[in-house]
Amino acid sequence: MQIKNLPHKILFKNAQIVDPFQEKVYQADILLEKGKIRSIGTNLSVENNVVVESLAGLTIAPGLVDIHAHLREPGYEAAETIASGAQAALAGGFTKVCCMPNTEPCLDTQETVRFVYKKAEETPIEVYPIAAITKGRKGEELTEMVELAEVGAVAFSDDGNPLQKAQMMRNALEYARLTGKPIINHAEDLDLKGDGLMHEGIVSTQLGLPGNPALAEELMVYRDLRLAEFTQARLHIPHVSTAGAVELIRQAKTRGQAVTAEVTPHHLCLTDEYLRTFDTNAKVSPPLRTEADRQALIAGLRDGTLDAIATDHAPHVIDTKETSFDLASSGMIGLETALALVLTKLVVPAHLTLLQAIKLLTVNPARILNLQLPSFKEGAEANFIVFDPEEWWVFSRKDIYSRSQNTPFLGMELTGRVKAVITKSHHVII
């Protein structure tokens, strides 16, 4: 990876532009000056002192937006730092990443939220902290949400710790209305989940691993939807994984409820069948589900029930994965592979068009957390990626920029490779 300052003027010629703002795909040249788009159109003339780069055969899309990542800093720097997470993000084409608050200390004070912004300033991407709903993520006392929002918290979540108490969830939803920010609750009924380590189904039966039923997620999604409706609050449902949950969200949206939901690339690409390998890299929370669930998630993306794709990038040091399945930590890294997985598993089989896929990775997630995205207009900040949607490559360790390597996708053949990222007046060559 090579990170340079953008030249004063640079002209990208003959790219295919996937523009989710205008919802169209077109051929154009883009002229940048001082990090901004000076002009965009066909056959732009080459001025003096302009660096010219031909992008024939390549595609430009806005910098991708991830509204669900774990960057581990402060506290777990052996697994990831904001700097290493930023590199992983760039490698995958992400220029805006929202990080979850389950750090040590967790993001439940203004100081910790400011710390994230300060660390992120040193990187070529934007990082937006999601603050905790409750102090210490213990589910007992609300954080000072108004003040957290004032210093830039974009949402509230105790991610990893589902809010079990309905009363606390109600209070959080109501109080967060003061901030206009959504509540993101990891939807799992921990009591029903019990000691479940994977989806409860025929595969868990055959592997002898304790099962975590789909209902553990669905009951919580139902509770949260109804509480949010009752309190007129903004709810965002993370990492939806079951067909039942998709249906509950669909019904809520049909009733007109202002709810949003995301799905991860791994739930879209893998099922519990993969766990026959006992590969702890595929131990995730919520767990990988069945093929029928996977199909329902795809249908949910297609009809708008699910608004966005988010990585749930969850780095863990290798030692916590190379152990028995019960002790292994939950989660996999995802920033480097998200775009390629979506292209390979959803666009190539024609479940989604390229434009739909890009929307689900840019404008849609940005809208959920009210992040401003520069568009392809004259005067806008240059913030886009250059990729080859048709380049096949094998994902290997050298493609990982995260400090952690916990991914089950190593060795997989993928299409779609990020070549360059333009962000914050930087030109990043991958």
């Binding site: 025929i202 039966t205 002898g208 691993l209």
Partner: protein
Amino acid sequence: MNLSIKHLLGLEGVPREDIEAILKTAFSFREVLERPIKRVPTLQGKTIVNLFFENSTRTRISFELAEKRLSADTVNFSATGSSLAKGESLKDTVRNLFAMKIDAVVMRHAVPGSVKLLAQFVEAVVINAGDGTHEHPTQALLDMMSLQEKFGRLEGLNVAIIGDIRHSRVALSNIYGLRTMGANIVVCGPPTFIPYGIEELGVKVTYSLSEALSFADAINVLRIQKERQGKGLIPSLREYRNVFGITRQRLDAAKKSITILHPGPINRGVEIDTDVADSEHSIILHQVLNGVAVRMAILYLLLGGR
């Protein structure tokens, strides 16, 4: 005789020819065990580690005896709960042991998949002596050997497995092995003990013990773990015995001779009454002897040819 498998991690997917070869070899080792001198030099110079991360008496002794009867050098490593502390890498523990040049490892662990994980870490033959609630292939093989001995066949035999199917590695391995060999299987227990989708493995489910008994030529009675009651899966051991316990009265009501197996250790008066466990229909002690023979056969077939 060569097996198609390199390790014995479970019976899922193990072909019929392999199971037949193991059983046939086991019967010839049974003869060795009846001799005054019960030792053969087959595995002289081979080193086997018995790696038990979970308590076991009978399985560990059975393996140890099988190894000694084959003249292998054996080392025992027991580390339960506390010594393999939470967070410590299984890989580290095991790699340290294997730096010492081991030919085979017999492993028991409380967590499903751990034995498979081990097979990825080491260059040695790996034999699963029970991985949590996943598989216990040598137990199923000795059960099958005992049934073969009693009935002269496995094809078409009706076997009922009774008890906590959901938490039983014995049940799962028996289902795989017996189905491969053409036996018919019914599993029986309260619904809280029947795992999701078990029918997809080619077995029938019944909650009625009398139905299971009227179906069965043989029953495999599973041990009821006493802690299940505390987890709310059954109200009491007393009620369990009243509904699913194997008693003389229930066997008499079936009006036929039913062969009884039990993987041990027995909770007498819970899943099975003492008079039944010790009756002429019980082949529980044959199972124990066959266990040594089957383990000799597996060690011989996986290690001998090398």
